[in-house]
């Protein structure tokens, strides 16, 4: 399945994207918490303007990697460069260049949505017109003057995203940006992320939503137990790891039966031929191989 739908990157070909400078360079990054290795020799490059998905099961080291990238965690070893600056050495220079949307919201609860954004607009030296624009983009204008403590979790998440795009960062890190969002809000956020990437913002997101990865990410890295399992475009992942299965439904002695058969397996192919020849085949259709299946296959292999 290709990266489909209305979110496709407008007007930038793959060859042009490849020529963009690298926004994030991670080289042999290792982070240890005592004897536990959270990230193990991770090497990864993300180009400017790329929408990069960072996947992995719980405890894979995704959040630790993001913490290193935003400068709140010192690496045990390895090299990290963001926008050409080395971390954690050039933390102060990197800070104004990125936005970070954490998985847990961190607003001033007593303030209204607008007051929260105004505070950060002042700190970033951004005109208040940007606040109105950000509120509008995330469909929060109507609720802007309500205290944040009255917001739903989805609204809080959208307010976080609005806050972090205020200063038009060149890199945007997002930790599960569409968690707790309804279908419509998810759509709004995904479109926004694609727009940002189209305008040259590097978007680095972690998510557990495989549909999201398939739909909006230019490239995806899968992490398991702190190690990089694979990194490629969603289309290439599907091409390389897809399994061709068919589901056959047939009538045997008056009783309906179903079987799923792998077309890359000789024994299964023979079984399919037998069913078609000898049984009363009622239905036969190919099984879609989802990105989620690729993810489960790769992480399952990593665990085994």
């Amino acid at each position: 399945m290709s990266a489909t739908s209305s979110y496709t990157h407008p007007g930038v070909s793959d060859s042009r994207k490849d020529q963009r400078p690298e926004a994030i360079v991670i080289d042999q990054l290792t982070v240890k918490y005592g004897p536990f290795t959270a990230v193990d020799s991770l090497s990864l490059n993300v180009r400017a303007g790329e929408l990069f998905g960072f996947l992995g099961p719980n405890g894979a080291g995704k959040s630790t990697t993001i913490r290193v990238l935003i400068g709140t965690q010192k690496p045990t070893s390895g090299r990290v460069e963001v926008a050409g600056f080395s971390l954690p050495k050039d933390f102060a220079k990197v800070k104004p260049l990125f936005g970070y949307v954490p998985d847990a919201e961190n607003h001033v609860e007593e303030f209204t949505g607008r007051e929260n954004l105004n505070l950060f607009a002042k700190l970033y030296g951004v005109p208040f017109s940007e606040v109105e624009q950000a509120l509008g983009r995330l469909e929060l204008s109507e609720a802007a003057d309500l205290p944040v403590r009255t917001y739903s979790r989805g609204m809080r998440k959208k307010l976080l995203i609005a806050r972090e795009i205020l200063h038009r960062p060149s890199i945007l890190y997002l930790d599960e940006p569409t968690a707790n969002l309804d279908r419509h809000s998810t759509d709004v956020v995904r479109k926004l992320l694609r727009e940002l990437a189209a305008n040259g913002t590097t978007v680095f997101l972690t998510t557990h939503d495989m549909e999201e990865v398939e739909q909006i990410c230019d490239r995806v890295a899968i992490l398991c137990r702190g190690r990089l399992v694979d990194c490629d475009t969603p289309v290439n992942f599907m091409t390389r790891h897809a399994e061709r299965n068919v589901l056959v439904q047939f009538d045997r002695d008056g009783e309906m039966q179903r079987e799923s058969l792998d077309l890359d397996d000789d024994e299964s192919r023979e079984r399919l031929a037998t069913i078609i020849r000898t049984e009363a085949c009622v239905r036969l259709h190919s099984q879609e191989f989802q990105f989620e299946d690729v993810f489960l296959k790769l992480t399952g292999q990593a665990y085994s």
Partner: protein, 377 residues
């Protein structure tokens, strides 16, 4: 790197907005000022009964029965039982503040001070202390005390160094030197009440609110969000310190204006309050940096206050713990505030400011280190 004024102002404005939207914090400070006003109002309306403490040297307790000092004490004790306004206490039981004995409000004192033995026999020096400016309040107690003293010793020689309030009626063999201390002011007066209140305001505004706001910020992750914005950690910390010091300053000014307006011009008072506030802000930052949640931080702040009170009590009651007081800047600040409320002290002669400054710098350094390394994460 120099802090940017616009960043500091933005952060301080944020803290002020949080305070305004947290009515409980404002109410607490308002309560302090209201309490001061009530104190002033109640003082002019009521005339409480004045009591008297007869204070004797600690050594009197160890004299054997039959010894005249022991017997004198016994007589006083028996007589005092008939008058509920009179209490007989040893020197050690009287709390001290900056080497000066401090009595409860509306209390006179007759202090028996033993002078070195001479050829003329034992000598007692007597010092009178009374609240307020009028020494007449001592009259009923002296009328009670002198006959007992004369009966016991048989002869009292009076060498007055100040106008006497009451005259002994007879003389015998023992020489008593009568010294009138004169007015030392109302010892538990508005100065002491104001000093206590100012210290509480400093604690609430600088320590308790700092702990509450900072740990709440930390628990919610707001500090991390701020730290990842273009502001520096120095600016973030400075804004917090300036806001809480300002708040404590306003609260203190209100209390001083109500209780002791003349002290508003005392530089030594403001310097002491500034150092105290800075020290307490640092303590608040240390506590907030060490605790993960708001509730545990508030508990730690309360423990700090209780431990401080226990140390102060132990140090006052038992000499073995006396040195403990030297490690607490609040000990110096309380004395300095109390004295500075009474009179302006030239800063060059305010010896307590030096150890206080050292202790505050130690706390500030610890707060700076902890806040930068772990306090904002």
């Amino acid at each position: 790197m120099m802090p940017r004024l616009n960043m500091l102002l933005t952060l301080m404005q944020r803290e002020a907005m949080r305070l305004v939207k947290n009515p409980s914090a404002l109410m607490l400070l308002g309560l302090m000022v209201t309490f001061s006003i009530l104190l002033v109002l109640s003082r002019s309306d009521k005339k409480p009964q004045i009591g008297c403490w007869i204070v004797y040297p600690d050594a009197f307790d160890s004299f054997p029965q039959g010894e005249f000092k022991h017997d004198f004490l016994k007589t006083l004790s028996q007589q005092a039982k008939q008058n509920r306004l009179i209490r007989l206490v040893s020197m050690g039981q009287v709390p001290k503040l900056r080497e000066e004995r401090v009595y409860p409000p509306q209390t006179c004192a007759i202090e028996l001070l033993e002078l070195p033995d001479s050829s003329e026999g034992s000598k007692l020096s007597i010092a009178y202390r009374h609240p307020g400016t009028k020494s007449e309040v001592l009259e009923p107690f002296l009328r009670w005390f002198w006959p007992i003293a004369v009966d016991h010793f048989g002869q009292v020689a009076v060498q007055e160094k100040a106008p006497a309030i009451s005259r002994p009626v007879s003389a015998a063999t023992l020489v008593m030197e009568k010294l009138q201390s004169g007015s030392v002011g109302d010892l538990m007066n508005e100065d002491l009440a104001a000093a206590i209140q100012l210290l509480i305001i400093q604690f609430v505004a600088c320590c308790q609110l700092m702990v509450s706001f900072t740990s709440q910020d930390r628990e919610r992750g707001t500090l991390t969000a701020l730290a990842l914005s273009p502001i520096t950690m120095t600016e973030l910390m400075q804004a917090k310190l300036l806001f809480h010091l300002g708040l404590a300053g306003v609260g203190s000014a209100c209390v001083i204006a109500v209780l002791k307006p003349v002290a508003l011009a005392n530089a030594s008072l403001w310097v002491t309050l500034l150092l105290t506030g800075l020290g307490l802000c640092s303590v608040g930052l240390v506590i907030a940096s060490l605790s993960k949640s708001q509730s545990s931080a508030s508990l730690l702040a309360l423990c700090y206050m209780l431990i401080g009170a226990v140390i102060f009590y132990l140090a006052t009651r038992f000499s073995a713990f006396a040195t403990l007081k030297s490690f607490s800047f609040e000990h110096y600040s309380f004395g300095m505030i109390y004295v500075s409320l009474q009179r302006a002290i030239p800063l060059t002669r305010a010896v307590d400011l030096r150890p206080m400054l050292v202790l505050v710098v130690v706390w500030l350094t610890a707060a700076n280190f902890l806040f930068r390394t772990r306090g904002w994460k």
